[in-house]
Symmetry: D2
Subunit: 333 residues, 4 copies
């Protein structure tokens, strides 16, 4: 690689964008944050200032800066594919938040552009980089549980303070369950064959399902169930893989382990509240891995194909819900 | 009640029958075991001798004994309904192992006979009497988790030493999952509306599914997933109820809590191996409750209707598996 | 052995005596309870009736019954040695509650009588028969933690409802810590060399220490700390052995494992409240072991010497407290 | 405060010094690392380069730099007091690693100089800033366990690869247990009155004790036991406070929570290996708190007096070991 440190541009300075900015500024060796763009100029400026970097008037201006070698796309989901195309055309390596986009034709065009440009594209399935999920994955891959038979994924967000926070990004399956679809593929090392969804609505005024069990049948015979919902007790993020010779499971991570026993029982503290606290480490690790795959010219751990396949499953899960029947992945592809 | 202790006859002296015999002989106040019948005369004799009781040549001879006020039916599942009819006709109260029987018409005839006779009939869903499941049920009923939204039931047997042990009793759903169907109804306090099954075969040579995820949609909107399979690590028996304001979950019970930490990690002992060890206490409690409902002339905690409904769900689960589609309970009823 | 079942007499029908009576009546194969004596005639009668046995006017009448082959002594501690002498003189095998007695000269006379009579004498250190402590002991003995270096024993009773319950039996060290002194010897497989006590008084109006840390130096170099006190949360009974290659520890046993998570945290149930609930199983096992050592003419697992040594350590612990200095066991012997 | 960011000099570039350098360079807002001094020029240079800062020829040169407002002293323990005097004389605020020094007269002189200079002095008892210990402290202070009665502190290092690593810094009590002496004072909010030590030597060739139980009697009546030793399973760092109305306890922190169950049992991963991994967060937090106490001109959370008192207890613990008797703090003061 010609450059000693990799110059990054950030496109989108919302919650997750600001987290990536901080990591690029101080926690990713060989990377530096050059500048930020966001249609909301104030958001861009505030994020840039906090991390000693520049502001661009638009993502096009950012992409035109030759000091920027790679971008992090953290804009709304349905803008991802277009931005990927622009960034690839500008010869920038791309780290793009999940989902890769919301419709398959846009995604396919974006992937084709990336392939032609020969740049790296890594999708933000950060949980693959979390210590718990990595330990589960590694144990399964190394045969510690035998053949994976049943996977149970629990993935529940804290209940939002206001309803408007919930449904801005393509519905439950594209926004929330998409992480779990990727995780199912990651830990079973297999592809989804069919999907069945049952769901309900718990949050008042929410016109769409917010609580669901999605079951998957994988090509290698593994069966998967995914629980989604919204809790009053913080971020509920667990996985269990039951295999032919053993089982591996994780527990929610907590801020500390102190537990109080008094005359009413034993009491422990709540899990970390949400993704910023719970997954901070994994967000830093995914960017370090991205920088490393550029430096070594290797394939990202989470590829464009991984990004696309999770969207395919999300589309199938939605269709299963809408039509109350199991949906084969081949119907959607 | 006219009698100071209740005389019991045991019909069927297999594994579970012998357990009930021991409990009747020493762990159920106000009950005594009068005698045992089993088509296998040796089994009947051995069981009777171990518990200081008599042997009968047939269940008819047993039912003819006026010193017997109640029977425990622990014969093969497809003989249950017939025996219930005979016992009810003889005016005996009836505790019958699960499933109540395998086909709905036989079950309905048996229930009608019981109703006419005015005797008690309790079905052997012993898990309702286990401290873990009772604590979960009681917490849900008292509102500790709010409205139940998602229930996850894990119910896995230890892998059988020989295949012949597995599939003698009506298939996975009628034999094993039937406990879970009852548990789903018990903890949600609602009825099953529809069932969807995905399943696979792990045990070599087993022509039927032995590993499954069954999902249920309950009338009150709760969603349920049930995991079944066969382990290398003993009896895997857990439940988790996620509700609108909280969650309650259990862990596997173990013979002791000692855990060793050495240079390779921290190590704890396996769960109890199977139902005899794990659920001993609940089997004693269900008989005590049965004796009490006779003494007080109250309804059993597990009724004939509970027994029948679990069979209906099992039939629907099998059909869902056979036809690869969700099955509405109304199709089976 | 000439008799097919061993006839037992119970001397002392208090809380622990009644528990032994129940176990002899139904949970100890090859044993039966013949009768009960207690200076409180009502206590004797009530206990006898509940367990279908006889009442004797005095322990001497009980010992005169040739149908009684063995006795359980569950009277106040300072009557133990005298009763042991009487029972041994009558040729009865003896199971005696802890402590064996309160003063060494009485204990020595009693042991001498037992030796002359050639009867068995087992002391009621029931915790050796508990699954948790047995697992720790067995792991240490089989070398799983290497050489034992530091043992930590936590042994706290629930706070008594009224103060009068606390101090009837020879003070904290002879009544409560004595179990821990035996446990220290049992798990380290070594003898106590010196004792140091620090203690305080928490229960109002209690003129003696009720809260203590006692440290022991064992002959094999192992160091032991024992925590005693009175809780608001039930019976606190744990042990941890740290050795040169590993560590083994136990947790408090609870009535069930269900844990609730709500917006205020995660909540589990209290431990079992006291010895009757917590150690029921171990009390049955120690009697079964006693019957077996008579049947096979082997040495009891807990000998008279074990009983005496624990008293020696208790005396040293009290002296250490009184004189604020470490006390060598050789000073007391 | 006149300066917008606080310039730091680091004196001593060993393991812990390098950790502080990293934190000053990137994890302590309002602080920057100006430069490093170490008698080993290579160590100073390497540390300075990794953190984009300067090297000084000596600590005197460092102290002469007016761009340096505060120092971190991370040199060998017996040099601390002298360096504190020099730094205070130069008007620098001081963060000094534990122990504050090894002898009380040197410590007293250093504290007098600091008082005259009016600079801040904070001692490196980082565990006060750890989430586990802070939660325990806060719970005790807010009355959650009532009056603290018994404290149990487990503090064991991983077994060193070579013996020479163990005993370079004043013996077990001044090097290792000193953290625990501070913790006992911190969680009980009381002073040590007397100390009793029992100890042994496990590491071959180590002429001094490396395994110990130290018991403390606090002025408020609380009793404390401290377990020290060296493990084969990583850093063993736990605390339990038993009080008149409840108990609070922590568990070892681990890299992840995944646990595997197979036919041999349930297996979890080892705790974090040592202080760098386990306490990273607390080391950053103590420096942030130090910067804040300078900025706000408040008293440090860990004062010079705290540093001195822990040394006093360590001296008493050593004397207790040497003379096999409890030692009153008043003997040492």
């Amino acid at each position: 690689m010609a450059y000693s440190t990799l110059g990054f541009g950030l496109i989108g300075a919302g919650v997750i964008g600001r987290l990536h900015a901080q990591h690029l500024a101080s926690r990713v060796p060989s990377a530096r944050l050059v500048g930020v763009s966001d249609p909301l100029a104030d958001a861009a400026r505030s994020c840039a200032e906090s991390n000693s970097s520049m502001t661009y008037e638009s993502h096009r201006a950012l992409l035109a800066d030759s000091g920027i070698h790679a971008v992090v796309i953290a804009s709304p989901p349905d803008t991802h594919a277009g931005l990927i195309e622009d960034a690839a055309a500008a010869g920038k390596h791309i780290f793009c938040e999940k989902p890769i986009d919301c419709t398959l034709d846009k995604i396919d065009r974006a992937i084709a552009t990336v392939d032609r440009a020969g740049v790296k594209l890594q999708i933000g399935f950060n949980r693959r980089f979390d210590a718990n999920y990595k330990a589960v994955h590694d144990s399964v891959v190394s045969g510690k549980v035998g053949k994976p038979l049943i996977v149970h994924i629990i993935s529940r967000d804290p209940k939002p303070a206001t309803l408007s926070n919930t449904r801005s990004v393509g519905g439950l399956f594209l926004d929330m369950t998409i992480h779990d679809f990727d995780m199912a593929r990651y830990v079973t090392q297999s592809e989804v064959e069919s999907v069945h969804t049952i769901a309900s609505t718990m949050l008042e005024g929410c016109g769409e399902p917010d609580t669901a069990i999605v079951t998957l049948r994988m090509a290698n015979g593994a069966l998967v169930s995914i629980d989604n919902g919204h809790t009053t007790f913080g971020y509920d993020q667990r996985i269990e893989v039951f295999g032919s010779t053993g089982m591996i499971a994780t527990e929610n991570e907590k801020p500390h382990s102190a537990h109080l026993t008094d005359s009413s029982g034993s009491h422990a503290v709540l899990p970390w509240h949400f993704f910023i606290e719970r997954y901070a480490e994994s967000y830093a690790r995914e960017l370090r891995a991205f920088v490393e795959c550029i430096a070594r010219d290797t394939e990202p751990l989470v590829t464009a194909v991984d990004g696309r396949r999770a969207v395919v499953v999300a589309v199938a899960a939605q269709r299963s819900y809408d039509e109350s029947r199991p949906v084969s992945i081949s119907e959607v592809e």
